[in-house]
Assembly symmetry: C2
Homo-oligomer: 378 residues x 2
């Protein structure tokens, strides 16, 4: 539901949650009912032995969606759980160096750290991670992996250019590190054409073992199904399945079956179109308002996803600013949480993530006005 605010009401620039109208609940319910009616035994028993990589029908659908092979697909309880297993897998051999974008998804950083990762933030440029900075750090200390969200990044909104994707994989080959590309927002493009997946750039295809793609049905079908996946070389996929089997056995057969049926019946494709049409006007108005009110403070002008972001010049510290905003009816996420160790927003600025996906355009603009007024000390 779009929240409509009055001048008195609270505006949330906080969670990146899909609006309920972006979830095809009727179709999901229909396919859930069909699954439990047609194969109740399979839905409520253990997954069969040998299916710890995921429901075969779902793996076929995901493979076909992205143009990979089913033996490259590993399905888990959401993309976060995939990252947890990947961290365990990739950090087991003693190299604990992990490089990530700065800013980046805070929960991913916490997972890498919990698995012993020594995480360093690499600055972002308008077209993605700063490869010169990354190369410099690789010369000192090559990482076990580099984590990127190349499309409409959470939290910045930045998309990595095609040229940079190519150069990124070349760097990975040169310094023998793995790239994890996390693509939850990729399909939510409101204009223009997507650059290829990093795994699908010519350099990526020729060195496929270097790139692991992490995807999710959360933003294009349903968060509640908890279906995330990794696309990798088949051997890595099998190893992730073994690790999953030793952690939680398998995801729920029912949730996987609902997902597979929705993909097969083109519910996902149709819903992607629907979500694009739903969010495009919110995006377009948000961009217009942000250009007008934030100008050069914007980190990027994305063509999709959920987020705009800014480095806002302020005269105070973050805690004071967030508290002042709250008083003015503006709920903010603390932007410093998105900056991993060894990184920070430019001096004198605060980083702000501005989710537009669940806001009425007028409310978004009103929120920005409040934001600027507080920054100006008005």
């Amino acid at each position: 539901m779009v929240t409509t605010a009055t001048h008195q009401s609270v505006i949330h620039f906080s969670r990146g949650v899909p609006p309920l109208e972006a979830i095809p609940t009727r179709e999901l319910a229909d396919h859930a009912i069909a699954a439990v009616r047609e194969v109740p035994g399979a839905m409520f028993q253990y997954a069969p032995l040998g299916q710890y990589q995921g429901d075969p029908a779902l793996r076929e659908e995901i493979a076909s969606f992205h143009g990979f092979e089913a033996n490259q697909i590993f399905v888990s309880n959401g993309a976060l759980q995939v990252l947890d297993l990947l961290a365990s897998h990739l950090l087991r051999n003693g190299n604990h160096n992990v490089y990530v974008e700065a800013p980046t998804y805070d929960r991913a950083v916490q997972i890498f750290q919990r698995h012993g990762g020594q995480v360093r933030g690499i600055p972002m440029e308008e077209d993605g991670i700063d490869l010169n900075a990354l190369a410099k750090y690789c010369l000192t200390c090559s990482p076990a992996f580099v984590y990127t969200i190349p499309d409409f990044q959470n939290p910045s909104g930045i998309t990595m250019s095609e040229a940079k994707r190519q150069a990124f994989v070349s760097l990975a080959s040169r310094f023998h590190f793995t790239i994890i590309e996390d693509i939850p927002y990729r399909e939510l493009r409101y204009r223009g054409v997507s650059p290829p997946l990093i795994a699908k750039t010519p350099a990526g295809v020729s060195d496929i073992a270097r790139v692991i793609t992490v995807g999710s049905l959360t933003k294009i079908l349903s968060p509640g199904l908890r279906v995330g996946y990794a696309v990798s070389d088949p051997e890595t996929s099998r190893q992730l399945a073994t690790l999953a089997e030793g952690t939680y056995l398998s995801p729920s057969p029912l949730c996987q079956a609902i997902a597979a049926r929705c993909m097969k019946a083109s519910v996902v494709h149709a819903n992607i179109e629907r979500v694009r049409q739903l969010l495009k006007p919110r995006h377009d108005h948000a961009v217009t308002a942000a250009r007008r009110l934030l100008g050069n403070a914007l980190l990027s002008v994305p063509d999709g996803g959920y987020f705009l972001s800014a480095h806002l010049r302020v005269h105070t510290d973050e805690a004071t600013f967030v508290a002042a905003a709250k008083k003015e009816g503006l709920v903010l996420t603390r932007g410093s949480a998105f900056y991993p160790p060894s990184s920070a927003p430019p001096a004198g600025t605060l980083f702000l993530r501005l989710p537009f996906q669940a806001l009425d355009p007028e409310d978004f603009a009103l929120g920005l006005e409040r934001l600027v007024a507080i920054a100006d000390g008005k």
Copy 2:
């Protein structure tokens, strides 16, 4: 389905999987359909903020089932995932010593080791873990936790006596360790009366922070729902929820809702009765056959659960024995896998887990006859 074997066909003494007729698939399907029809939005959206401890309705039902409070319940993707989070939680403070029963559930040991646990096996007696041996090791080195399966243990079938449960908690208080009691088979009692949960013995109740109970709906409702839980002090429960949020956010709202509705509608209570009636004859015949054919080699004569077990005197090594059994149409799990580090079956014997829950009584007896014949070298 009960597998009926001829003299030529293969008998499986291997997996501890519920037979399909022990799963109330019709009722599960009905409640799944009701859930997606009545509240489709809630089923397919993220779990609400603040529900990372689990679906409140399900936590109420689980609490009431065992006689605890809802704020003590943490729900996860199956009991194995609960053990994974518990290991992470309990081993974070530097004491990596873990004591377990020998034999014990092999997947639990692997989880503890993956979290850095130094696992030692403590011998089992007919009435549960050898507390004198445990106390001796505690004097040298107190563990972070001791893991037990007190009812119809997997793999031995042994149940811990009430007196030993009391003494066990006293030992835990004296040496400041946590007890994890894992109770997947507890409700499947075919005769007699259950001793109290370790957490419910007077000593356990007076020192509740020392005992964490891990439960699962797999053997009494459905493996496919992947619903497991921990019962602990409320603070531990909150900490597990925080860890879960950082690992996979939440379990699927749909699977949790189906479980809650089935518990509320007494499907679980009715199914426990049904499973007892279904498995009691298999159990009784299996016990009779095992007494006749294995005699003193039996580790215990359980009153419930899925498993008998034996220390079988053999003239060969395990790999040779298992291969010979396979030639004779008998599939065995390698019993040594159930023995954690620093433990082994008595010299000259092999440990054998003998699951009876999915076998026709005649086939079970036939399997035992084949087993004895191979051991005797006939």
